[in-house]
């Protein structure tokens, strides 16, 4: 039986989830409770005199009625390796986040009627990318097998969501405003056609004009908010050719307060308002992992994706080969190579770097200083490449010797490249 292909959008204020429906080849948002509730507050409440926890809205209520102590902003806790003390017991961010994720997954499995997971992609705000190592540990603790777990930035999720829509949605620029209590972010996606492969590029800007959603509680506040958004729209979009505008985030649960903004930003443009966009985008990425092949023909360039192709030239049984160490458009967390080579009259390893927009290739090399001198073609090396950011490549080259003819010296060279 096919397992669940899930996308989870984990933010400080809300968590949302989407799943990929293999029947209709689309992703859908997951409703957690009756009444169209697609958003779960990212809140836990440790119940008094018990080992149980409430989560989401139930956690709010339990804390409100004094039934327990709540803890929120789990993503920020993961970012800062935070710890919370509840009833005299210290809980680290990984434990707390795992409790929350476990509850969310249990609910998803019940709602979708399946207990098996095929792939999960967790997406977070771009600025919270450094929290991922703790979130990953939490997800594994919550029962998600590590090999089925992946991560994506909001930019990646946004891109995949848009590219899954009909092509006329993204004929020209596609803009998105994401407005939450955590701030306001603006996303923009453009397609470069006329080259192979075609490039889809997304950028994200955190806007200074972000405001607390509490101001929407009053008519004056709503007017001010509307004005702020109009000003942003004029400044950023202006008269540019935009095909579609997406509005997401808690603030747009009702858009009646943003009448002027809608008129200005969305005039003669297609408008999409709703929640769960990032979760559904993450579900599309999860589908790509499940299928093991790209689900669209574009090379994706955005935060979280490598903009360069990294290659190593080598011979294999007399044939010249270009080994792809990292492909442009791939997630930096999953790009890289671990392969063995034999040095042939060489004391360096050279990498070819080409950007999607660069017609030429530049070379970067790691010199193997200190590696033992041996007869030619009797030094096997292990080359590992991985990325710590989307433009920071780490390399590690280790001397393996040559079997039992020449034992390994254990010599090792590490170098970082900023692409």
């Amino acid at each position: 039986m096919q397992g669940l292909i899930l996308g989870i959008d984990l933010c400080d204020d809300y968590c949302q989830a989407g799943y990929y429906n293999l029947q209709n080849n689309e992703s859908d948002a997951i409703e957690f409770d009756e009444g169209n509730s697609y958003m779960i507050p990212t809140v836990l409440c440790k119940l008094k005199d018990s080992d149980d926890w409430d989560y989401g809205e139930a956690a709010f209520k339990s804390a409100l009625f004094g039934k327990g102590i709540s803890v929120d902003k789990l993503v920020t806790m993961c970012l800062k390796d935070g710890v919370a003390t509840i009833d005299g017991v210290k809980y680290d961010c990984v434990t707390l986040t795992s409790v929350f994720l476990k509850k969310v997954l249990e609910k998803i499995k019940i709602n979708l009627g399946s207990t098996t997971i095929s792939q999960v992609v967790i997406t977070t705000r771009n600025k919270n990318a450094d929290a991922i190592h703790n979130i990953e540990a939490a997800a594994v603790m919550a029962g998600i097998p590590k090999e089925k777990l992946h991560f994506a930035t909001h930019s990646e999720a946004y891109m995949y969501y848009v590219l899954a829509q009909k092509p006329d949605v993204y004929t020209n620029l596609v803009c998105m405003f994401d407005l939450t209590n955590d701030g306001m972010e603006y996303y923009e996606l453009s397609i470069t056609r006329g080259r192979k492969p075609q490039i889809a590029e997304a950028v994200c800007h955190e806007l200074e004009e972000g405001f607390s959603l509490d101001i929407l509680d009053t008519p004056q506040g709503r007017k001010i908010a509307d004005k702020i958004l109009c000003s942003c729209s004029e400044r950023i979009i202006g008269k540019r050719v935009v095909t579609s505008v997406f509005l997401t985030g808690r603030a747009f649960d009702t858009d009646t307060w943003a009448e002027n903004f809608i008129n200005v930003a969305c005039y003669k443009r297609r408008v999409f308002v709703g929640q769960g966009l990032f979760a559904q985008g993450a579900a599309y990425i999860a589908c790509e992992h499940e299928k093991g092949e790209k689900i669209h023909p574009y090379t994706c360039i955005c935060s979280g994706r490598i903009a360069n192709r990294v290659t190593i030239d080598a011979d294999y049984f007399g044939q010249a080969r270009q080994i792809i160490a990292a492909e442009a458009g791939s997630s930096f967390r999953e790009a890289g190579i671990d392969a063995d080579f034999i040095l042939d009259d060489s004391r360096k390893v050279e990498f070819g770097i080409s950007g999607v927009k660069m017609p030429w290739q530049k070379k970067m090399a790691v010199l193997l200083d200190g590696f033992p001198q041996r007869p030619n073609k009797t030094t096997r090396i292990n080359v590992k490449i991985w990325f710590t950011e989307d433009n920071v490549m780490q390399t590690e080259i280790t001397d393996l010797g040559f079997g039992q003819f020449y034992p390994s010296s254990g010599k090792n060279v590490r170098q970082e490249f900023r692409l």
Binding site: I312, D313, A314, D315, Y316, F317, G318, R321, I323, A339, D340, F341, I342, L343, D344, D345, S346, R347, K348, V349, K377, T378, R380, F402, G403, Q404, F405
Partner: protein
């Protein structure tokens, strides 16, 4: 001239064991290296089931294994098959392949005694002196069969003597060189016997052939020995021994323990 990289083949779980070298081979590149650098160790039965299993199952190179088997069944000789393997793997460059072909051609036309002597000489170069001596003796025992000339016999006895000398068996070394001397009629052999006598007079005794050497020549050879001794005293290894004597007790003991351990292991390898 720019260098390049060769993408390494996978490593076999079950290696191919080489008796003469006492080591295991794990990749096809190591096998090619072994064939090229130790051709003298390979007999005609090198192309056997064990090799085919290593190439086909161990390395996953089924096509190459099948091709090797086809060639063997169709009557291709050892040299043709080995050259085919090297060409298909592309570990050797053009010059090395040419060199291998020349050596295979020599091997094809060489006398059995010459081929065996080459194998023994290679073992000497690898410091496997005991194994080399066994082969020298085997050739000498089958002197008539091998159709050895006087000179060939002399060279075998000489090399056997040098192998004994490397094993510090100076008496046996001198005996072998004494028999080789009249066959080779070389002053160099006399010098070598003189050097052996200088090192261990008790084991070597008074070889009759040395009585014909003049005192002036012996004095000159003695000066050579003195020069070699001075050279040895100035070597880094000797200096490290002197330095160790000036260290504290613990470091000195540790140094000599490691040195003796290394020498013992080296000697064990020589006499295996």
């Amino acid at each position: 001239m720019g260098g390049s990289l060769i993408l390494s083949s996978k490593r076999a779980q079950a290696p191919y064991y080489v008796d003469e070298l006492g080591l295991s081979i794990y990749t096809i590149e190591e096998l090619c290296y072994y064939i090229y650098n130790y051709l003298e160790f390979l007999d005609d039965d090198f192309i056997n089931e064990e090799l085919l299993n290593f190439i086909g199952k161990g390395m996953g190179l089924k096509e190459l294994a099948d091709k090797t088997l086809r060639w063997a069944k169709s009557g291709s000789d050892f040299g043709q098959i080995v050259l085919m393997i090297e060409q298909d793997v592309h570990y050797l460059n053009g010059q090395e392949l040419g060199d291998l072909k020349a050596r295979l051609d020599w091997r094809r036309s060489a006398k059995p005694a010459d081929r065996l002597k080459k194998k023994a000489d290679t073992l000497v170069a690898l410091k496997k002196y005991r194994q080399a001596i066994v082969i020298y003796d085997a050739i000498l025992e089958k002197e008539r069969q091998m159709a050895l000339s006087i000179k060939s016999k002399g060279r075998l006895l000489h090399n056997k003597g040098m192998a004994y000398a490397k094993l510090f068996m100076f008496g046996e070394a001198a005996r072998s060189l004494e028999v080789a001397f009249p066959m080779l009629d070389s002053v160099e052999v006399l010098k070598e016997i003189f050097f052996l006598q200088y090192i261990d007079r008790q084991a070597v005794g008074e070889p009759e052939c040395l009585s014909r050497v003049s005192e002036e020549v012996k004095a000159e050879w003695t000066r050579e020995i003195t020069d070699y001794s001075l050279e040895a005293e100035n070597s880094p290894e000797y200096k490290s021994v002197l330095d160790a004597n000036n260290q504290d007790t613990y470091k000195r003991q540790e140094f000599f323990y490691q040195l003796l351990r290394r020498w013992k292991n080296e000697y064990r390898d020589m006499v295996k």
